[in-house]
């Protein structure tokens, strides 16, 4: 069933993006058999893991990268689900940094890391996080991308 839905998305998505093949991560990021070779692209729903007020966010554009966003990249997203009294409201267009991705990312020592889910931290245009707390483990790949502020807020650095 998931396979047929995925193929339907691929037919629809082709009109959006003009022929990319990685359509598996599309709609629901809550599936447990994480297909670990998929970027976060347009229409990818990501969880928000800070206290900015948003809960779920849909990627509109992956800045940098033809195929999509990976761990540590910034995306433009639209807030789909939000806490009733938060800084960010539903329907707002925000920037976000992908802090956990189910797709493995190579480290400079040759090993690869992957996380359990696709998760984002909302930032402003300058790259400063909107929220004041982040939850869950954060990889230290962000240090290279100059997102040091997010790392300082992190409880656990993977």
């Amino acid at each position: 069933m998931a396979a047929s839905l995925a193929s339907k998305w691929s037919r629809v998505g082709r009109s959006f993006l003009g022929g990319l093949d990685h359509k598996l991560s599309g709609f629901l990021s809550t599936s447990h058999e994480a297909c670990s070779n998929s970027f976060s692209q347009m229409r990818t729903v990501l969880k928000v893991v800070d206290n900015s007020g948003a809960k779920k966010v849909m990627c509109i554009q992956a800045l940098k990268g033809k195929k999509g966003a990976r761990l540590g990249d910034t995306i433009v997203a639209s807030v789909k689900e939000a806490h009733p009294n938060g800084k960010v409201k539903k329907g707002k267009v925000v920037y976000g940094v992908v802090v956990r991705a189910a797709m493995q990312r190579g480290r400079c020592d040759g090993s690869e890391v992957k996380f359990d889910d696709n998760v984002v931290v909302l930032v402003d245009k300058q790259g400063q996080p909107i929220g004041t707390r982040v939850f869950g483990p954060i990889p230290h790949e962000l240090r290279k991308k100059k997102h040091v502020k997010i790392l300082t807020l992190a409880k656990h650095i993977a």
């Binding site: 020592d109 040759g110 090993s111 890391v113 992957k114 996380f115 359990d116 993977a158």
Partner: protein, 167 residues
């Protein structure tokens, strides 16, 4: 740089190998190869999978307690660089490795050997208890040996020739 242990099979993961999976509760699982990773994704328990070290240790196939294991404990304190210390450590690693593998081999050897003695003891007991099945007790009183007398049967040559070979 650190040499890790695979979470599933307990083999060493050298730098540049394997995948590490970070769960949302911040627990890190390191795998040496995709075989272990795929088994983990299948939610298999390494204590039940026969080829893993966890299984072998649990079921007594491999050595569990030894003083050589103390040397391999994880230390999180960085040591100040001292060339002598490094050299001595490298030499020590070699000798400790040799000793440990020797002891492990011995453990497996004694494990495999033990069965023979047990079988002997069982056989002796069986002979003593159930000799009455093959030797009448009255005969046993006269001749107290546990071995049965050898009986020679004479076969005439003609008979042997007449009987066709069974195919």
């Amino acid at each position: 740089m650190r040499i890790e242990k695979c979470w599933f099979c307990s083999s060493t993961v050298y730098p540049g190998h394997g995948i590490q999976f970070v769960r949302n509760d911040a627990k890190i699982f390191r795998f040496c190869r995709s075989k272990c990773h795929k088994n983990f994704k299948m939610k298999r328990n390494p204590r039940k999978v026969k080829w893993t070290k966890a299984y072998r240790r649990l079921h007594g196939k491999d050595m569990t307690q030894d003083s050589t294991f103390e040397f391999e404990r994880k230390r999180n304190r960085p040591e100040r660089y001292d060339r002598n210390l490094t050299e001595n450590t490298l030499k020590a690693i070699k000798t400790i490795d040799k000793v440990r593998s020797r002891r492990e081999a011995k453990h497996i050897e004694t494990r495999k050997k033990g069965k023979k003695a047990q079988l002997m003891r069982e056989a002796v007991k069986e002979l003593e208890q159930s000799i009455s099945l093959v030797k009448a007790p009255s005969v046993l009183k006269e001749d107290k040996s546990y071995t049965l007398p050898k009986i020679k049967v004479k076969v005439s040559q003609a008979e042997a020739k007449n009987q066709p070979m069974e195919e």
